[in-house]
Amino acid sequence: MQKADLTSRDIAELGRVTELMEREWSPCRYHCPVHADVRGYIEAAAQGRFGEAIDIIRENLPFAAVCGRVCHHPCETNCRRKDVDDPVAIRHVKRFVAELQGAEGCTVHKPPAQDKARVAIVGAGPAGLSAALHLAKLGYRPTVLEKFPIAGGIPATAIPRYRLPLEVVQIDVDWIRAHGVELITGVEVGKDRSIQDLLGEGYEAVLVAAGLAASRTLPLPGSDHPRVHLALDFLTALNFGDRPDAGDDVLVIGGGNVACDAARSCVRLKPAARVRMMCLENEEEMPAWEWERREAEEEGVGIIFRRGPVKVILEGDRIVGLTTRGVTRVFDSEGRFDPQYDDTDLSDLQCDTVVIAIGQMANMGFARGSGLKAGPGGRLEYDPATHQGSLPNVFFCGEIVTPPGSVVEACAHGQRAAKAIHMYLSGKTIQIDDSLPPYIDTIQPETAEKVLKVCRQAIPTDPPQRRRKLFTEFERGYDEPAVLAEARRCMNCGSGAEVLTDKCAACLTCLRVCPFDIPVVTDVARIQSTLCQACGMCIAECPANAIIARGRDVGELVQHTAAALAKMNGREPKVIAYVCGHHAGAADWGGRVEGVEGVAEIYLPSTARLSSAELLHAFENGADAVIVVACPDAADRYPQTADRTRRRVNQARRLLQEAGLDGQALQLLEVADQGRQAIRAALAEAAGKTSAS
């Protein structure tokens, strides 16, 4: 992308430099269906600011805790780090912060007045609750009606508990309700109350977010047997504590995620049973997410490809098998689902239980007495652009109207519907701008090569033998050190250097100091944000003050230092320590550890960005001594940082001495990678020395 020149005047007009980040997104954010600021929350997590991290996530994603467990994470799939080593484990970082903070640990943005129209929402799933939250934040009074006794939709009622414990769903539900979202459970719309009733009761709009509540079934002879289960009912029964009747030899018909969940649940019901899945597709076509399938196989689930069911074979009142036929193709030449069979290729598969998991469909019960019109094919009329049905004040969102997808997509759709309702109730034409800024492309091999390789933190999981027996969660989350290490793998894509072309003197310094060889100097320096690693080396060295970081406001560190010094008022001497936090714990970053008397520690992602001018400013702002705690050679996240840091400290010492101050008041300790104890001891010693001199 050809980008426009940026000048200091533009920056002055911008207010906050970080606004620049909105012009071009990191791919993780772009590909996230709710466009959560992934880079932002990963950086907060990397610095141990877990409360801020969850707030950034929740700004866009109401189902943060649920998604921390079950999201299909398109952010990770598109993470630029995949071309360096492995993508950042974004979902696991999210899981850690969401569950650590719980519902109480997240900021609630309830507007002071919620006096706008009342809106009724049918269904407390991800789509309905996300819409309700959005409306509540805008000052509306949403009421969510849910037929089940618990809220959360499929995540609460059908996603197996070993993947998603109910307490985790509850975190999101509680946080959403805290915004003034009224929730009434145990009410089935269409049965207990109709949509017309709701409109008559003073709700000015109704949003239907009823999801896909019924399993599709197959008209197989013998399928009325009590050991032939429909997957959704089967999973829901399990989640409500029932133990559906299953035998020792289970055949699950279907190759999607729901089929995997059903099969894995059967394994847990009877660890000794044989559980197999059978699907029309071949290995490549199988629709289940790769990891769902892998986990099922690890737990002993067998998969039979390219067979279609014909009939359930009964012997007396027992199921003894399933007759199957060969599949010649699943999709037509245009990729549409249109299976063809070879009826000469028949064979029987042994089994005593059958679970049908071939997809879900809508339960249209809610429409009873609504006055909504059905279009051709019995589907309700619906306009995807405005979310409206045949009545202008009845809206739709979520899987009831979208192809089956994921929790996060349902959240996005709910938010979009809320925007539509807001426009409608404000008397405007419903017109939603779905355009997005461009995103940063893949990392070039020349740059990828220079990025320090750091393996993805392993995700501890129970061994399959243990998993087979337990309905409890099998995938442990990261602990704090792992989450920090993982979040620090993020390359902060798109938060890097920008040249202010009016100031650039084309001096070539950036080109010379960049450890990744990114800057090109033509008329002025040109730094491509798509390539920049955001280390800040050039920013610290630029003699024209012509380079800024998109992700940081100019003068941030100086202000932060001044504030820290002001807090130490009355104490003498005042020592500021700039510590490279690339290896530090969250408590260190957050200042929640026992420090050294009289030393204010300020943590930095790396000392690459710390300039000699900033060192002088610390003294100006009242520091009696400054200690730079850096990483020794090669331990920093960016190459060449140790050497540059040494040179800057030496330069600043000379400058101090010239000004008549003691050069020894500035110390450099290269112990930042050695842990809290070592840093503390070194700081104590250095602080002692500086106050003695």
């Binding site: 009016d502 003197a505 001096c507 003699p543 024209a544 012509a546 010239e658 000004a659 101050l661």
Partner: protein, 229 residues
């Protein structure tokens, strides 16, 4: 480009001693490139002065600013601070900038924070070397592109002196003999004959001895005159 180096700090302090409010003014051209007088250096010098002022108990307030070039009037419009509000401007430009700004700011003393040292080129990262003297009568055509005025310690025009010693200059063993360099370069180029040619005496009036030098580009200067009329 013009290369300059920072004056010793004590000398700067002495210069600004009579003033209470000082604006340190960087220049965004040559001296930014040679890392001595750009905005960052202005920021650093301002910081040093405030620190020194505090240490010495002086009543000194210092700000910094920077413009694209101190040798053209129009750029002063981009100043963020108004020099008229200061007792003195401490300029980090070369002598040209300092002198020119003195004219632009008639009521404010403009002080030099740099010593302007030479016309040079970057020979390695962070290293600059003298290449030209601005003598006004260029001889590089017959000296293999190596300037005898700048590169010979004595600015000789007729070849090496007796002090040349294994390619080094008698002034310092660390310095190449300029004429040795010229000879070798011409030898490489196969142009040693250039040295045998008779040349008219040099016109040293084009150097400093002719007084203040001036350039007037007729095509532009005329337009300027017309519009002034």
């Amino acid at each position: 480009m013009i290369v300059a180096e920072r004056k010793p700090f004590d000398e700067i302090v002495e210069m600004v001693a009579p003033y209470k409010k000082v604006l340190v003014l960087g220049c965004g051209s040559c001296v930014t490139v040679c890392l001595t007088g750009g905005e960052r250096q202005a920021e650093i010098l301002a910081s040093q002065l405030r620190l020194a002022g505090r240490k010495k108990g002086l009543d000194l307030s210092v700000d910094f600013d920077c413009i694209t070039r101190q040798c053209d009037r129009e750029f002063t419009e981009n100043l963020k601070f108004d020099p008229a509000e200061y007792d003195a401007v401490l300029s980090l430009a070369c002598g040209v900038g300092v002198g020119f700004m003195s004219g632009v700011l008639p009521d404010t003393p403009v002080l030099p924070a740099l010593n302007t040292t030479f016309y040079g080129a970057g020979v390695a990262e962070g290293v600059w070397e003298e290449y030209c003297h601005g003598c006004g009568d260029c001889v590089l055509a017959w000296t293999g592109g190596i300037c005898p005025i700048a590169r010979c310690s004595k600015s000789l025009i007729n070849g090496a002196c007796g002090g040349t010693n294994d390619g080094k200059c008698e002034v310092s063993q660390d310095m190449d003999c300029g004429w040795h360099l010229i000879y070798k370069r011409l030898q490489e180029l196969g142009r040693l004959d250039e040295l045998r040619k008779m040349r008219p005496p040099r016109d040293w009036s084009k150097n400093r001895s002719g007084g203040v030098r001036r350039l007037s580009r007729e095509e532009m200067a005329e337009i300027a005159q017309e519009s002034a009329e």
